[in-house]
Amino acid sequence: MSGSYGTFSTKQEERRKRTVPDRVMIRRVYEYAQAHRRNLIIGISATITGALTGLASPYMHAIAIDQIITPKNLAGFIWWIPLFAAVILGNYLLQYIQTYQMRVVGENVVAKMRDDMMEKLQVISLRYFSEGEIGRIISRPTNDANTVRIFLRLGLTSILIDVSSILGSFAIMFFLDLRLALLAISILPVALVLVWYLGKYSRAAYRKTLITTSGLTARMQEDLAGIKVTQAYAQEQETEKKFLKSQDENVKATIRAILIGSSYTPFVIGLRLIGTMIILFFGVTAVLNGAITLGILVAFTEYQFSYFMPLVDLVSMYDQYQSAMSAIERMFDVIDTKVEVLDAPSERSIVL
């Protein structure tokens, strides 16, 4: 049996690596979003423009400092304040539209996929529902659907916002001052390598917690399915002991993942600090030379902040993205299962 479309993959096959390329699945999820295409387009545009207007605010401060406060040209506030208020208001409105529209799309897509899965489950061969497979089947319309829902609710918008903030910051920095911009992004390659490399360890640790968690879930499921037997033989304490032991393993794995996952934040902060130092050192000299204005220096320190943080965020999103993709693959696996017209009774489906 192959893991390709048409057959529902078995337990062994599921452990294997994913086979369907991301773009295929993204296209298919997009097909589900077609019914809400308008919401999707409005949502994505609002997300991107929202991120960009968010970037306007440090630039507005630079203008206020350079053109109004420093030269004591107070009349400038007459246009600056309404403009600033408009930017803030526009940004707020865009965020409102983005959150709402993306929610509409996300919830409906997952619901539709879930409906299709339920429909398919009613018609596929009964042999898929053999003992030992039930838990796995159940997790597809429940746990997997949940993972995808959470990803569509938060992850997808975060990725869009992060990417547009990073690109927007770059654009603005290069627009403000080429030399300082090059200095500001000089740490980028180091940052990327470091964040990616450390991120790999953290992902591996995280995956381990997923395995121990599913082990814990399986144990709990079985313990509860057999609880009447356990009580009938007064073996509650034995069962409890075993469960608590496997829970401790899970706790240990999770703590390890937290340790590894958080250990790269000091490095990231350190790198950002180096970036700030470079900007301050060269920036101060540039201001004193009259090469740039004070406002631009202040704006730069802010933009450096607003490209670096989304970068870190983006890397931490990678895991969420991956688990959402595998969940989506498993959901399509059910949706794509071929229906056999004749339901041949399997030898182990009834008795003996």
Binding site: Y100, E222, K228, V229, S262
Partner: protein, 625 residues
């Protein structure tokens, strides 16, 4: 509407209760519930107060160090750039910024770690309490709640609680400390500007509270619907054969879609509220910066005013601090969002933890050894729901070593009757005595260890056959295990397997037939060598050979033990000392086969119609409950 009237009518029968439930959930003011759940959650923190002390200290240090960078950048602007400019100071300021940054990075790292470890410990405690409480719940609890639902509460719902616990205290402290530090730093520069910049705080607080109050009930409802939907899916998948036999596929899906619809609508309403309030805090805060500029600009224009002498650097400092404050404020509103969801999860977990146990040890319960195995039931009345008794004033006595076959239609109370003996359910009135001692005088443990039970549902745990047979007596010798297996007529089959007694069975092991499983469960009941045996032998639809083997196993098992057996087969009934016929929860007839035949009552009728005419001895409820 995506459903036809026909579909709707049908849906009524399957998904109607679920749909009604989903629709009955009204957005209500969840504040008090949420507050008491929060207090409960705080209690779980008590054991880890050293962690909390560490978190408070680390958060304070982190906030102070975080605030130094804008401050020293301002010093650079004021003192280095000037006028008058003084570049010799630059290195000193940069050094402070680096040191503060390094300190911040370290304290931040330690804080995340300490917070994370504490959250894991607390989740562990909550889950352990939940799990242990489940071990003590009576059968009536498990009759009403699905395994999938219970598992998802301990995993999915607790994960929600976990994601709140990971950061909540740090985030709250961060916002509070950072606001205080900013006020401390900027107040001496300009009290009026400080007041202006903080003027927006009450507004932010107000809108954050609104967000919380309005979304909480919706998220709670979503979580509750999701939980029910999961058990709906689970029931559908587990019972797929039944669904197919009765051709209810369409109804199942239609019903599901309708409830899912309610969920999606609730989620979108919650999203709407969130989208209104969530971006509001940072927006208001940023507008506050504009107010600071206006005031600064205004005062700069007035000669001799306090700010006329203030420097541009001070104004930049104000603006930068305000911008930095947007981060903790945003985090805070996100944490509130996590709490709203975590609270719904916590509520679902505690609901189970707090559910009554129903059957418990009396304070003076003792370990009592059952010597003979005499069983006396006196005026026993029992019902799953109060005032609707399933068993009514049942009185009978079983002498040591006697085998009693119980007959009765579905719902006559057979299973309930035998499950009362090991106190799987608690009786409402009357008494059950073993060797003259009321079973409530026994410790539950000691009572159940001495009664062998073969349940109707033949469940085997993942593990080897050996472990399954020795389940009730983990220290049983291999000799005892083999002896039990021989008595249960399963030894030869086990020996024929390549790994023999070490063959894995259950979820991840060999698939056994119903008949084989039943004999292993009989062996499991025998390994403890109980004086009393209760058996629910409802297994039907087996072939003649298996039937005979099971029969022989039961025969052997019940030879010397006091036995109550729910019988399906005439051969079982024939070998019983007495027969008890239940009708609507009361004893209709009780006596030996010959006595009851002579009585010419219910038993005789059943005997003639079911056992004599039919080749296969199956009672009217053959399929089992």
């Amino acid at each position: 509407m995506r459903h036809s009237d026909y579909a709707k009518k049908i849906t009524m029968s399957i998904a109607k209760p679920l749909l009604d439930y989903a629709k009955s959930l009204r957005p209500r003011k969840g504040f008090t519930q949420s507050f008491s759940a929060f207090k409960r959650l705080i209690k779980y923190h008590r054991r880890y107060y050293w962690f909390i002390v560490a978190i408070v200290i680390l958060a304070a240090v982190r906030s102070i160090l975080f605030s130094l960078e804008p401050l020293y950048t301002t010093f650079i602007i004021i003192n280095v750039i000037g006028p008058p400019s003084n570049t010799s100071l630059l290195w000193g300021y940069l050094l402070v910024i680096v040191m503060a940054g390094v300190g911040y990075a370290i304290s931040n790292f330690v804080l995340i770690l300490v917070h994370g470890v504490m959250s894991q410990y607390i989740v562990r405690d909550i889950r352990a309490e939940y799990y242990c409480s489940l071990q003590g719940k009576s059968f009536s609890f498990y009759d009403s709640v699905g395994v999938g639902d219970l598992t998802s509460r301990a995993t999915v719902d607790l994960q929600l609680v976990d994601s709140f616990l990971r950061t909540w205290l740090g985030t709250v402290l961060n916002a509070v400390f950072f606001a205080i530090i900013i006020i401390v730093i900027i107040y001496p520069i300009s009290p009026i500007m400080t007041l202006i910049s903080m003027a927006t705080m009450p507004l932010i607080f107000y809108f954050t509270t609104r967000l919380w109050l309005e979304t909480m009930p919706l998220f709670r409802n979503m979580q509750l619907i999701l939980g029910r939907l999961s058990s709906y899916i689970q029931q559908n998948i587990v019972g797929m054969k039944t669904v197919r036999i009765f051709r209810r596929e369409k109804d199942i899906v239609d019903g599901f879609k309708e409830v899912e619809n309610v969920y999606v609508n609730t989620a979108i309403s919650a999203g709407k509220i969130q989208s209104i309030y969530m971006p509001l805090g940072p927006a208001i805060l940023t507008l506050g910066i504009a107010l600071v500029y206006v005031y600064a600009g205004y005062s700069l224009g007035i000669p001799g005013s306090a700010l006329a002498v203030a420097q541009v650097g001070d104004i930049i400092l104000f603006a930068r601090y305000m911008m930095r404050l947007t981060f903790p404020i945003r985090d805070l509103s996100q944490t509130l969002g996590t709490w709203v969801i975590a609270y719904a999860g916590l509520e679902r977990v505690l609901e189970i933890t707090d559910a009554p146990r129903n059957v418990e040890d009396l304070p003076d319960a003792k370990d009592i050894k059952i010597e003979k195995g005499k069983l006396e039931l006196e005026n026993v009345t029992f019902g799953y729901v109060k005032d609707r008794p399933v068993l009514n004033n049942v009185t009978f006595t079983v002498e040591p070593g006697e085998k009693i076959a119980i007959l009765g239609a579905t719902g006559s109370g057979k299973s309930s009757l035998i499950y009362l003996i090991p106190r799987f359910y608690g009786i409402q009135s009357g008494s059950i005595k073993i060797d003259g001692t009321d079973i409530r005088q026994f410790k539950l443990d000691s009572l159940r260890r001495q009664i062998g039970v073969v349940l109707q549902d033949v469940f085997l745990f993942s593990g080897t056959i050996k472990e399954n047979i020795a389940f009730g007596k983990p220290d049983a010798s291999i000799g005892e295990i083999v002896q039990a297996a021989k008595a249960a007529r399963i030894h030869d089959y086990i020996e024929s397997l390549p790994c023999g007694y070490d063959t894995p069975v259950g979820e991840r092991g060999l698939t056994l037939s119903g008949g084989q499983k039943q004999r292993i469960t009989i062996a499991r009941a025998l390994v403890t060598n109980p004086r009393i045996l209760i058996m629910d032998d409802s297994l039907s639809f087996v072939d003649a050979k298996t039937e005979q083997e099971i029969q022989s196993a039961i025969e052997e098992a019940t030879k010397t033990r006091t036995t109550l057996i729910i019988a399906q087969r005439f051969s079982t009934i024939k070998t019983a000392k007495k027969i008890l016929v239940l009708e609507n929860g009361s004893i209709a007839e009780f006596g030996t086969h010959d006595e009851l035949i002579a009585k010419n009552g219910v038993y005789k009728k059943v005997y003639e119609t079911q056992f004599i005419q039919k080749a296969s001895p199956i009672l009217e409820e053959a399929g089992g409950a």
